[in-house]
Amino acid sequence: MPERIWRKPLDSEKAKLPKAEIHIIRDQCKGCGYCIQYCPQKVLEESNDINARGVHPPRVVDESKCVLCSFCTSVCPDFAIFVIEKKECKENVKHG
């Protein structure tokens, strides 16, 4: 495979990566492990806790590494994890 040569983006000083907010609905997780395995940034790992279903839900290792690809959101069969963009202003998120 040829080595890729990356050029530095011209607006790399100004442009900001979106900040991610990862939400895990613990008791809905069935422990399949897809989100953990297939996160391209390896942001998730299996936690030691056991949820109401008797499995280990994922836990976030480093939320700042998340690039909001939303793969975990789409691949979760149980709607137990989703990632949204953290708003710039620090308003409290309404709890549903």
Partner: protein, 279 residues
């Protein structure tokens, strides 16, 4: 972060029916996820969406989506969906069902609906067996696979579903695995916006029942099979789009324009009535 905030797609799911009955790692949940995501991205009018499903684990999907839904008898969702679509062509009718329901008992209805080019969309969860009843062989079970009714190895050649769909006349044919979530969602969006009969086969893990008997006892092992073996070959020959332990050919195979049955019917009725004189 752990919170009680609601999942952004939760409005598309019937809260009273959740959580769903599917096993840990079951691909049905991923298919449900991609379908509602596609519906969300298209901002579809949910009043006009009708989901028809058959019998099988994936058949429960109709009950989970918060829209008009009908859970039919085994093998008959396509025939019932035909009635719905013709009675009200403004409805978007989507059939979500399994490989056995659609291609064994329901095979005849599939080929005729494709032939007629009725504007219903069919999404098939292909998990290579009859999961709901405990893991019997089905029309897509690979050769030599072990199931409860092929304890010595399956001796039946499986269907190539995309070849069958293309040969029957479908205007849109695609195959993805549950690992290709983004492409699957985009494919479903294209499917929903196209006239005529469209079909997507989703190769789906059934770890508890099929995988366990065939050396892939976790969902992750099945998904790894998909990751290792799948190759995207858009618009390649559907007859050569095989599924083997080494190769799963995915992609969009057919995307053509052909007038749908309901449009032909509408034109015919208008034409007949123009030509006739009142008595």
């Amino acid at each position: 972060m752990m919170t009680e905030i609601e999942h952004p797609l939760s409005k598309y799911l019937r809260k009273a029916m959740m959580p769903h009955i599917w096993c840990s790692g079951c691909g049905n949940g991923i298919i449900l996820n991609c379908v509602v995501q596609a519906v969300d991205e298209l901002q579809m009018d949910l009043d006009k969406l009708v989901v028809v499903s058959g019998i099988g684990c994936i058949g429960r999907a109709a009950g989970y989506i918060n829209t008009n839904s009908f859970h039919t008898t085994h093998g008959r969702p396509i025939a019932l969906a035909t009635g719905v679509k013709l009675a009200n062509p403004n409805l978007e009718v989507v059939v979500i069902s399994g490989d056995g329901d659609l291609f064994a008992i329901g095979g005849n209805h599939f080929i005729h609906a494709a032939r007629r080019n009725i504007g219903i969309k069919v999404i098939c969860a292909n998990n290579f067996n009859y999961g709901m009843t405990g893991g019997q062989q089905g029309p897509t079970t690979p050769l030599e696979a072990l199931t409860t009714t092929t304890p010595y190895g399956n001796i039946e050649h499986p269907f190539n579903l995309v070849h069958l769909a293309a040969a029957s006349g479908a205007t849109y044919v695609a195959r993805w695995t549950t690992l290709h979530v983004r492409r699957l969602t985009q494919s479903i969006k294209r499917l929903l916006q196209k006239e005529g009969f469209g079909f997507i086969e989703v190769v789906s893990p059934c770890p508890e029942i099929f995988g366990r008997r065939n050396k892939m006892k976790t969902g992750l092992e099945m998904m790894e099979w998909f990751r290792r073996s799948s190759v995207v070959e858009n618009f390649s020959d559907p007859s050569k789009a095989e599924i083997t332990p080494e190769r799963i050919v995915v992609g969009e195979f057919v995307n053509i324009d052909k007038i749908s049955y309901e449009r032909l019917l509408h034109e015919k009725i208008a034409h007949i009535n123009e030509e006739k004189t009142w008595r």
